[in-house]
Symmetry: C2
Subunit: 125 residues, 2 copies
Amino acid sequence: MNIIERLNFDAKGLIPAIIQDKETSQVLTLCYMDREAFTRTMKERKICVYRRSKGQVMLKGETSGCVQLVREVFIDCADNSVLFKVDQTRAACHKGYFSCYFQKLDDDGNIIIEEKQVFDPKEVY
Amino acid sequence: MNIIERLNFDAKGLIPAIIQDKETSQVLTLCYMDREAFTRTMKERKICVYRRSKGQVMLKGETSGCVQLVREVFIDCADNSVLFKVDQTRAACHKGYFSCYFQKLDDDGNIIIEEKQVFDPKEVY
């Protein structure tokens, strides 16, 4: 069976994909793929996402150059989500941080930012 | 502002939460939380999930004993998802594997399983 027939895309035709940096094991982002984005990702070995805000498939990093090269692919026990281990070019977050999870919560629920920006978004977008 | 007011729960009142093992950095699972599950998780420091199949909030590991102790909490750049770093008791997957992402895809899209089962599900559930 083709793997795409096995995956459980939701009612909107999407499946969540966790992107993890292969080298540092940092979780970089959570994105969504439709069948086209998943197929392109597997073929081109670069993460392609379905941008819900734009309603279209895009190469992750198309504007910024911060592409994600696919190294390994895993699917979960219920075929409901995908995990991609990638080589991250420069930084994953459009706010200029290596990971989108740069906002840490302290015990009181306050946000603290310990990460340093890799680039200034104003200079990239 | 209370953090729960800042998070973007979807139309069904849910937000995706990535669970990562603090020690090994392995991504363990992707789950969903409603406001109650998130609030309980933050208060009890154990992952609580909204089980979509059962329509209720449950302590992760309630049946199996494989609870996840919260060590660190991060939210993404758009407040659309949460990342929890946890101490995993025994194994995260109901199929007996440490991580739910034990199915690896080879270059031809075939599933290969390199992980070893930690426990036999028949003996636990």
